[in-house]
């Protein structure tokens, strides 16, 4: 349901009635084939909001080229017809009659058990704060606009040009924290969490396009706290991008219309004014009016900053039971965390509904498959005109006649739209009537339509692998319309290539794997505990393995989350629930020491104090945590008054006298983090220290508290803590990596010497207590487990997910998921969200009894394979193995025969084996050497 708005929610969790208002699209999405003819004819130009108004679109349009569903819509505010004019150009141009000028608004009611809110954010509009010249100078733009400028599909095809005159840019600047961390002017104290990273990314792309470009970034703190972000930041500095710690207060005109002037302070305190050709304002995120309205309509609470109010222990649950939220709506965040929260909210929404799973779905039935193995190929070719999209360039009738002359072709037909329901029925009928056993569809792209035709084959009793497509629309008619003669010749080539390949297609039986509906969770910290409970609450038995004698992991050393929720009682509740849950078996003082199998059917051996147990499980969740770094600098271990953050917390809460009576406290940040040997940000330490600093100040206002930092990284809504600490008089002093503070042990007390950036001289701070904010380091034992399950680690020893952004809790190996600190340092609420996300991904496997596998897989030709095993090394998934088998029982004493086998559940059909094999002993279904070779020869008309 696109173009739809929520109006009302009645009822309660498990039984909501939601009233929706569907706005008219004026295009029938069942008919629209996204051919774009309407756009060609539409006379109305409208400025394109997707390209941030930097170029134009039509009144009938696609919001962007990858829009889903890929269907056009009419912008009624600009359409001539909708505004009372007489135009109907799109209606005339549309080959499918999809235009519906009489489309109207509809009210829809749906009954649901849970609701997930993911309304996103809007970028801050700097126009309201005139200071940066946005809207006044043409070359001042927001980060969102600059992003479009860098996009290859954007208005300048990815070239960085000055909007004022279209000339290439030589010098540009980024201004950070525009619309973020600005309480005084706009009452937005929070940090938008993504802008530092997007600015650095944009700067790097711009630099790649133009090596001579000079780029300056003006920042308050550089917040590259995500996985691998710190290294990217370093790389940016090495590439020559200059970073200035300075908040530029305004953008001023310069003598040239193509430049603006920035005035700023250098690190040495000198005031400089410099001209730049483009100034990018790195705008932050905010909640828009519609989202506030949505919160009101759903009856959920918002934070003072306008984001959905959630607790650290239920990061995707809103204030109203049964309604969940994810993404930037719960606070500014980047893509990986948004994707994690999306999966987490799916889990949260599903737990309550698990007993009615599949009660409203039905499975499609197909007729039994016809055996075609022995038959000679009888190829049917169906050529689509796609209205006139193809027919306008390709002489379809000639093409059909040509197809008839090709080997093995026994039937050829053309249709107006091969994808339409009636054409599908007709293809089904022809397959039966003509006894076709291979099908070639010449139409659009297999990327969008192959699945549809595969279903048609299945419905006709043919194996779905017996279809091949010739892409004569996207890769022919549309791109060669200016050369119709050559295009027609090429169309013949494409049909010939498809027919040549089709003749060699082979039926492949569908493969499915039985699922053991049970999970193994390794690690009994917060991540492991949450994952176990959420799985068990959905009815799946869980084996939870913990190496220590009790559950809780690192959280046992924590007291409060940054939102002040008490951690110990939470851990206690989780442990009690786990102990009492009938579906969870807890294995304490245990480790996993052997594992085999694949998605759906793993077997792992758990070493327990009482002996070994084998556990069968369909999925594995790794939540093996991390460790606190033990420092060897700042005289740690030499004084009774120097602690790590965790040690300090314990003593503080126990009322230790050193802290109770202490008056001078110094926190040193980045101890062990952001160092050459550990070049990442530990993400939690800034917030942790500031929280402690606030507690110290609130305990006694006379205390002097100093925080020595490199960049304060209280990202997102945590920034409020930083503001509060400053209000309370906590003193923050910046230091650089090459000029670290010095701890001097004196007889009566300690002293910390740090370079003062205002006075430009060393500054000495007497200290009763020094707290070292130490790094979070990878758990060395994770390495062994990673080996067992064949999972990759990153260079810092953390588990490497399948895709940093799109698959943040998956591995390339199916059926294994990750959560918590084993992935990267993170605070409690992110750990919990990630555990819930891992559960959502695990349930996609566990909730079926069988899992159907993709058919594009390696297959061994035993007549050709000689088991040289070259392919074993290149397989990235460990899907190949050489097995020994005995000859006939009669052949006593015969040497065992070797055989190459493909473990179908692990194979993903990449074909590296095929490209390595010197004998065509292994090939990928639908892309075998023979099939590709037939295409090559057909393309060159070389039989």
């Amino acid at each position: 349901m696109t173009l739809t708005e929520l109006e009302r929610v009645d009822g309660e969790a498990g039984n909501f009635t939601v009233s929706l208002r569907k706005h008219p699209r004026y295009v029938d999405i069942d008919k629209c084939i996204a051919c774009g003819r309407c756009v060609e004819k539409c006379p109305r130009q409208v400025r394109d909001e997707f390209n941030r108004y930097t170029d134009s679109r039509k009144a009938i349009y696609l919001k962007y080229p990858q829009a889903a569903p890929l269907k056009y819509q009419i912008d009624a505010r600009h359409c001539i017809r909708m505004r009372g004019g007489r135009c109907a150009e799109c209606e005339k141009a549309c080959p499918r009659g999809a235009i519906r000028f009489d489309d109207s608004e509809q009210q829809v009611e749906v009954k649901v058990g849970s609701i997930i809110l993911a309304p996103g954010f809007q970028p801050f509009d700097p126009f309201e704060l005139g200071a940066w010249g946005f809207g006044r100078f043409r070359n001042v733009m927001t980060g969102m606009e600059f992003e479009r400028l860098l996009a290859v599909s954007g208005p300048t095809s990815g070239n960085v040009l000055r909007p004022s005159d279209g000339k290439p840019v030589r010098k540009m600047a980024f201004l950070q924290c525009i619309g973020s961390r600005n309480y005084n002017q706009i009452h937005k104290s929070y940090c938008s969490a993504v802008c530092c990273m997007y600015a650095i990314k944009q700067a790097m792309i711009a630099l790649e396009n133009n090596k001579d470009l000079r780029i300056s970034v003006f920042y308050v703190d550089v917040r590259t706290h995500g996985k691998d972000f710190e290294r990217f930041y370093d790389k940016a500095r090495q590439k020559g991008i200059s970073f200035h710690r300075c908040r530029v207060h305004s953008v001023e005109p310069s003598e040239s219309a193509n430049e603006v002037c920035l005035r700023y302070m250098t690190e040495n305190g000198k005031q400089v004014s410099e001209n730049f050709e483009i100034v990018v304002l790195s705008v932050g995120m905010e909640t828009n009016f519609e989202t506030t309205l949505l919160a009101e309509r759903t009856g959920i609470e918002l934070t003072p900053e306008g984001f959905a109010s959630t607790s650290c222990f239920a990061p995707v649950a809103t204030s109203r039971p049964g309604i969940f939220a994810c993404g930037a709506f719960t606070g500014p965040k980047d893509i990986p965390l948004s994707v994690i929260e999306a999966s987490a909210s799916a889990t949260a929404a599903a737990v309550r509904l698990s007993d009615v799973r599949y009660s409203q779905s039905h499975t499609r039935q197909f007729p039994p498959e016809r055996k075609t193995g022995e038959e000679d190929p009888r190829i049917g070719v169906f050529i689509c005109k796609c209205g006139s999209n193809i027919a306008e360039v390709v002489r379809v009738r000639d093409l059909a006649r040509y197809a008839e002359t090709l080997p093995h072709v026994v039937f050829v037909e053309t249709s107006l739209f091969a994808c339409s329901q009636d054409s599908q029925e007709l293809i089904k009928k022809r397959i039966g009537d003509e006894g076709l056993n291979r099908i070639v569809i010449a139409s659009c792209t297999p990327r969008t339509h192959e699945q549809l035709f595969r279903e048609t084959l299945k419905a006709s009793g043919l194996n779905e692998c017996l279809v091949e497509m010739a892409n004569i629309r996207n890769q022919l008619a549309w791109v060669h319309s200016s050369e119709p003669e050559a295009a027609n010749a090429k169309a013949m080539d494409l049909i010939r290539m498809a027919v040549a390949k089709a003749a060699l297609l082979e039926p492949v039986p569908a493969v499915s794997v039985r699922i053991t509906p049970q999970a193994l969770v390794i690690g009994g910290g917060v991540a492991g505990m949450v994952a176990s409970l959420e799985l068990a609450d959905q009815g799946f038995p869980v084996h939870l393995v913990e190496k220590a004698a009790q559950l809780g992991g690192n959280a046992r050393h924590l007291f409060r989350t940054w939102k002040n929720d008490p951690v110990p009682s939470y851990i206690e509740t989780l442990s009690t629930r786990i102990r009492e849950h009938s579906l969870i078996s807890v294995h304490l003082k245990s480790t996993v020491f052997d594992a085999e199998g694949f998605v759906g059917s793993f077997r792992s051996v758990v070493q327990k104090p009482t002996g070994n147990v084998a556990v069968d499980h369909g999925v594995t969740i790794l939540a093996t945590g991390a460790q606190a770094f033990k420092p060897n600098e700042y005289d740690y271990g030499l004084s009774q008054n120097i602690f790590t953050s965790l040690e300090f917390d314990k003593l503080h809460s126990a009322g230790d006298e050193r802290i109770l009576n202490g008056l001078n406290f110094v926190f040193i940040q980045c101890v062990g983090s952001r160092e050459p040997e550990r070049n990442y940000c530990s993400r939690v330490c800034c917030t942790h220290s500031i929280q402690s600093a606030i507690a110290l100040k609130e305990g006694n206002r006379d205390r002097k508290v100093f925080v020595l930092y490199r960049d304060i990284r209280t990202y997102g809504l945590r920034e409020e803590l930083y503001r509060r600490a400053r209000e309370l008089g906590v003193i923050f002093i910046n230091y650089e990596a090459h000029q670290k503070p010095n701890v001097v042990m004196k007889e009566e007390n300690l002293e910390v010497i740090v370079w003062d950036h205002v006075l430009h001289e060393p500054f000495s701070i007497p200290a009763d207590v020094i707290v070292l904010a130490t790094a979070v380091v990878a758990n060395p034992e994770t390495k062994e487990l990673a080996k067992l399950y064949k999972l990759p680690l990153d260079m810092d020893g953390f588990l490497q997910e399948a895709h940093v952004k799109l698959r943040p809790v998956d591995f390339a190996t199916d059926g294994v998921f990750l959560a918590g600190l084993a992935h990267y340092p993170k605070p409690t609420e992110e750990t919990i969200a990630q555990a819930q996300a891992a559960v959502a991904r695990a349930v996609t496997v566990l909730s079926s009894r069988w899992i159907g596998l993709d058919l594009v897989k390696g297959r061994v030709d035993e007549n050709k394979c000689d088991c040289c095993a070259l392919c074993l090394d290149v397989c990235p998934y460990g899907a190949l193995a050489v097995e020994r088998e005995r000859l006939d029982a009669g052949a006593e004493g015969a040497a065992p025969k070797q055989k190459l086998v493909v473990r179908a559940a692990k194979c993903k059909g990449c074909g590296f084996c095929q490209a390595t094999c010197p004998k065509e002993g292994i090939s990928v279904t639908g892309f075998s050497y023979r099939q590709l070779s037939a295409q090559v020869r057909a393309a060159l008309d070389c039989g």
Binding site: V479, A486, A487, K490, P876, C910, G911, F912, Q914, A939
Partner: protein
């Protein structure tokens, strides 16, 4: 062999990865970008599945140029197929000299699925280069070009 011959239309084969260049070629269509018709795309799941033998076969069967298109390094759908393709197809250079063909006839190119404009631009550029290079002596119709004195027969 170095001058462009009017009337000569090179035949170019492109092994295009399903996740990047093939998608970019589709997108080029959606945007109605125009490029020369010389390129024939063969869809593969990954540049890492293209056996060097296939490339050799294409040249022996008379292709004037062969392209293998994969995802940008570091962006492979199957971890590192493009790296494998790069390592494996290094042998093509050697094979080309054995066949007596110019190195410019083969290219390994990286794309993302959004780079439709680049797909079209590369198609134009490669066609241009091959037109200037002239027909491959392995073409079935090579003798016609030899008769005109454009190339030497093998």
């Amino acid at each position: 062999m170095s001058e462009w011959q009017p009337g000569f239309e090179p035949k170019i084969l492109a092994f295009a990865c399903n996740w990047c260049s093939y998608a970019a070629a589709d997108l080029a269509g959606t945007a109605r970008m125009q490029y020369p018709t010389n390129i024939r795309i063969i869809r593969v799941m990954c540049s890492g599945m293209v056996h060097p033998g296939l490339v050799t076969e294409a040249f022996q069967a008379g292709a004037d140029g062969v392209l293998v298109m994969g995802c940008h390094l570091g962006e492979c759908h199957y971890q590192d197929g493009n790296h494998k393709a790069k390592a494996r197809l290094a042998v093509i250079d050697e094979m080309l000299s054995l066949l007596g063909l110019e190195q410019e006839r083969f290219r390994l190119i990286w794309y993302s699925s959004a780079e439709s404009e680049r797909f079209a631009a590369v198609a134009r550029e490669v066609t241009d280069v091959l037109k200037k290079l002239g027909p491959s002596p392995y073409r079935r119709d090579a003798s016609e070009y030899a008769d005109k004195g454009i190339i030497q027969c093998l």
